[in-house]
């Protein structure tokens, strides 16, 4: 536990030193170094803790009423610490060199303060062992990123995105406050050890509050609206951290709170499965329709959160229906995907950040041809895209395979309606995987391949230093996590057992099945790599000494191809966006060519999030109006404030005496 506290201390030291060093290069150095070293310390702690097993505990006296300053890291917490610290370190590495050019022009000291506090708070959420402390660090974790997101606050869209983020985070937090209050009312304490003993008992209301509260953070549909707003607006190293690590705390909260509510029932499994598949499909369809790479990645995070939720649903269903193997595989898949998605999405967001830096934007229709100009970033993005599509040898396939196995074991049971749910899960997962391939061949193929669609893209270049290295390192980790899948699977099994509490019969077979399957998958991935190497050798031997020329791309005899003739983001996705129009509600603005010699024609299509526009914005507006009304109490006149204090004191006195 000492290592964990040291990590927090270094993070916070960086947070304090950075603003003290001003807003220039020194602040950038202190902030990033603190974040980097603190994250590495924390990562070492999480790995050691996972290897050692058991729970590390630490507590200290605290003057606050209600809560206790009590920390603990068991296997479940340690699994969630991994993405936080890996992406904390990667964000520091990348952010340091990305922000160098802005030293002095932007308040870097304050920025790093909020980044470091975000990392520390995100690490503390899984470590909190008291409900009150949990709420406090949850709130810090919700507020600090707001300032990190709005670094470019001169842009009104960035401010709007920050606003949406803040409201969504707080509507979720309100549910968690209510949840903890109910826990306190039922159990008389918020000590997690006591709650885990079943002091509060099962409750539908508590489960729903946890689902909404955690869902707003994780981004379940329809609470996902803040993700596609906040991620493109934030600096890329912050997006990587938000998307890879911070939203996972929602998953952690859901899993941890379930352990307080007793064994999950079947309806909870069905509900999470349905919600997960809906979220995944909605997320990937909207990802496919986006024009901005960073928005696409944000929607892909929604998809992946949906996949994690699907896995949890499969696990709960297995628990409730007595399929131990399915339960074990499902829960392990959820936990593995928490780690794997962090690696993949970190790679992709940091690479997208390099594109923003090097090519001046992330709108796909202004990109293209980056493969020649940004080779390092291209390799990283390609590896991330391959992994997130669930293709070997990447790490995205690991959880997908376990989920499919979990569903298959339930389908093989042939008992209704579990088997029906399992079929739905298999078909849904397959469709999501197919659409993910569509969305990411679009993101990679149109942005990095072909000819540049704008002068800025034509002049693009790889960034230098950490900004260039960080996505490559994460891409390497994606590959490593794919090849070491059986080891990681073994590592998360104790955490899965904590969520399950007690497995029905068959869990050991499930673990053996998963290990065998993943071991073979790793071997198959190695075999694939060897095959690729062998075929590449064959090809180079075949072409040795033969004429190898270079020419124009064959365009069917038309000798004046121009970059604008390439498929655009809208046209590439059109076969699917057309088919899915009822879900996507893509808006198309067509100025059709007219006459025999048409002078001009234009088509523009946009896929705004109709859930944001038709559901969330009105709710957020109502909240804003309510808060505006409260301003009447807060007008800055000191005598009236003194009157408030007096009135409160009198009321308290009357209550105490009466």
């Amino acid at each position: 536990m000492g290592l964990f506290l040291a990590s927090l201390a270094v993070l916070l030291a960086g947070a304090v030193l950075a603003p003290m060093a001003g807003r220039g290069r020194a602040a950038n150095f202190f902030g990033a170094t603190g974040a980097f070293l603190g994250s590495l310390l924390g990562l070492a702690f999480a790995c050691l803790q996972l290897a050692a097993g058991g729970e590390a505990l630490w507590s200290a006296p605290w003057a606050m009423p209600l809560g206790r300053l009590s920390l603990g890291v068991d296997a479940l917490s340690a699994v969630f610490l991994l993405p936080t610290f890996i992406l904390g370190a990667a964000a520091a590495l990348s952010g340091h060199s990305a922000l160098k050019g802005q030293a002095g022009r932007r308040p870097l000291g304050a920025h790093w303060f909020f980044v470091n506090v975000s990392i520390a708070a995100t690490a503390l959420v899984p470590a909190a062992r008291d409900g009150f402390l949990f709420l406090v660090v949850w709130e810090v974790m919700s507020v600090a990123p707001f300032f990190a997101i709005t670094l470019r606050d001169e842009d009104s869209r960035v401010r709007h995105a920050g606003w949406v983020y803040l409201l969504a985070a707080h509507l979720g937090a309100a549910c968690l406050v209510a949840l903890m209050a109910l826990f306190y009312a039922r159990a008389g304490s918020l000590d997690f050890a006591l709650l885990a003993g079943g002091a509060a008992g099962p409750s539908v209301a508590l489960f729903v509050l946890a689902l909404v509260g955690c869902g707003a953070k994780a981004g379940f549909v329809p609470f996902h609206v803040w993700l596609p707003e906040a991620h493109p607006a934030a600096p890329s190293h912050v997006s990587a951290f938000l998307s890879g690590a911070l939203i996972k705390t929602g998953i952690y909260g859901l899993m941890r709170i379930q352990t307080f509510l007793g064994a999950p029932e079947a309806w909870q499994g069905y509900l999470l499965l349905a919600l997960g598949l809906t979220t995944a499909l909605f997320g990937i369809l909207f990802a496919l329709a986006q024009r901005d790479v960073k928005r696409l990645l944000a929607y892909s995070s929604v998809e992946n959160i949906g996949l994690i939720l699907t896995a949890i649903g499969l696990g709960y269903l297995g628990l409730a229906k007595g399929f131990g193997a399915a339960a074990c595989l499902g829960l392990a898949a959820a936990l593995l995907h928490v780690i794997n998605h962090a690696l993949m999405k970190g790679t992709l967001f940091l690479a997208a950040g390099s594109v923003l830096h090097g090519a001046g934007g992330t709108i796909i229709d202004g990109l293209g041809g980056l493969g020649r100009r940004m080779p390092a970033t291209t390799v990283a993005f390609a590896a991330g895209a391959l992994a997130i599509c669930g293709l070997p040898p990447g790490n995205g396939l690991v959880a997908e395979l376990l989920m499919l196995l979990s569903a298959a074991t339930q389908a093989a049971g042939r008992t209704f309606p579990v088997a029906l749910a399992a079929w739905g899960a298999v078909a849904g997962l397959a469709l999501v995987a197919g659409l993910a391939l569509f969305a990411f061949t679009k993101a990679f193929g149109l942005s990095f391949l072909g000819e540049p669609r704008s002068p800025a893209a034509a002049g693009a270049h790889d960034p230098a230093g950490g900004e260039r290295a960080a996505p490559l390192i994460l891409a390497g980790l994606c590959l490593a996590a794919g090849l070491c899948a059986p080891l990681l699977f073994q590592a998360v099994l104790p955490a899965a057992a904590i969520v399950a509490r007690t497995y029905p019969a068959g869990a050991a077979e499930g673990a053996a099945l998963g290990t065998a399957s993943l071991t073979w998958l790793s071997l198959a991935a190695v075999g694939l790599i060897l095959l690729v190497a062998a075929l590449a050798f064959v090809r180079s031997r075949l072409l040795a000494g033969r004429p190898v020329g270079r020419g124009l791309t064959w365009d069917c005899g038309y000798l004046a191809p121009s970059p604008s003739m390439q498929y655009s983001s809208g046209s590439f996705a059109a076969p699917m966006t057309g088919l899915m129009r009822p879900v996507l509600r893509t808006e198309t603005d067509l100025a059709a060519p007219e006459g025999i010699f048409p002078a001009r024609a234009a088509i523009e299509s946009e896929t705004p999030d109709w859930l944001l526009e038709s559901v969330s914005e009105p709710v957020f507006g109502a909240v804003a109006r309510f808060c505006d009304a409260l301003k009447a109490l807060q007008h800055g006149r000191t005598p009236i404030y003194i009157l408030y204090i007096l009135a409160t004191l009198v009321a308290l006195l009357a209550w105490r005496l009466g």
Binding site: W423, L528, G549
Partner: protein
């Protein structure tokens, strides 16, 4: 058994181009032409492997990696494919899902290679390929789930076993439905009529052929060979469900299976001779139908 598995893999490597030849021959016979030689695909492969190459100035390493990764992925998928009641060379629980992932990798490589040329034609093909495959994937997994559900095993080699004679009545309808679903997927995933037309190089209706317009020499040979192997793979999935094994001797089983593969190729040729290409908006409906057949099979199985 082990030796037979290796023989099966060698048969796939050696005979898969012949399937394309049989399809073309069938079409030629039906339309009254003498047609190409049966071994034309072998000649094409030999010719292409002996050539040099021309690369577009737009392309990068992705374009060169595409055919290599595509072929490697299909070869890896073949390693887990059982044939004729003989288990595959590599068999493990969950290999059925890994096979689908390898096919996905081949597709990813091909699509990225096509987009690397910057050509609007190849972008069009890539876009359609991605869209239709995304819709085919659930149908394929549902069809394979029928075998999982029927046998309670998770390895293709163990689930592709022929039911005993007594089990035929119970499993017959299920197998028929699955064979229909898998055959539709064979046509769609291998770019055959009615989804795609392998003969239309330069028309606005094409999908697969347009993606490889810029490939030549050994690269095109790799793609052509990978396509042949993929056709073999899907044929084996169909034939494994449609043709009985356990006829008494391994040799008899093997012959029955090869005859089945040949029949499957003839069936593809018949479909291509008698049907027109579907309009593109109709293709999703066809794929949904395949998924519906598979779902119906599951429902009958689980009753």
């Amino acid at each position: 058994m082990r030796a037979l598995s290796a023989v099966n893999l060698l048969l796939a490597l050696g005979l898969s181009p012949l399937l394309l030849g049989i399809i073309n021959r069938t079409k030629a016979v039906i339309s009254g032409r003498s047609g190409r030689p049966l071994l034309q695909v072998y000649f094409d492969l030999a010719k292409l492997l002996g050539k040099g190459a021309v690369y577009s100035r737009t392309t990068t390493w992705v374009f060169k990696a595409g055919p290599i990764v595509g072929l490697a992925a299909v070869l890896a998928a073949l390693a887990v494919l059982p044939l004729g009641g003989v288990p595959a060379l590599v068999a493990f629980p969950g290999d059925v899902f890994v096979l689908v992932a390898f096919l996905g990798l081949a597709r990813f490589a091909l699509i990225c290679g096509a987009l690397d040329t910057g050509s609007s034609f190849e972008g069009m093909g890539a876009s359609r390929e991605a869209a239709f495959s995304a819709l085919a994937e659930p149908a394929l997994l549902l069809a394979l789930l029928v075998f999982v559900s029927r046998t309670g095993t998770y390895s293709l080699s163990r689930m592709y076993v022929w039911p005993g004679a007594g089990d035929w009545l119970a499993s017959g309808p299920v197998l028929i439905l699955v064979v229909i679903a898998l055959f539709i997927l064979l046509l769609s995933e291998n770019s055959r009529i009615p989804v795609d037309d392998p003969n239309t190089h330069l028309e606005l209706t094409m999908i697969h052929e347009v993606m490889v317009l810029d490939h030549g020499g050994p690269d095109l040979a790799f793609i052509l060979y990978a396509a042949a192997l993929k056709l073999w793979l899907f044929s084996a999935l169909v034939v494994g469900a449609a043709v009985p094994t356990g006829l008494g001797s391994p040799l008899l089983d093997e012959l029955a299976m090869l005859a089945g593969m040949g029949m499957c190729a003839v069936a593809v040729g018949l479909v291509e001779s008698t049907m027109a290409r579907l309009r593109l908006p109709r293709v999703p409906q066809l794929l949904t139908a395949a998924g519906a057949f598979a779902a119906l099979a599951l429902a009958i199985l689980g009753r």
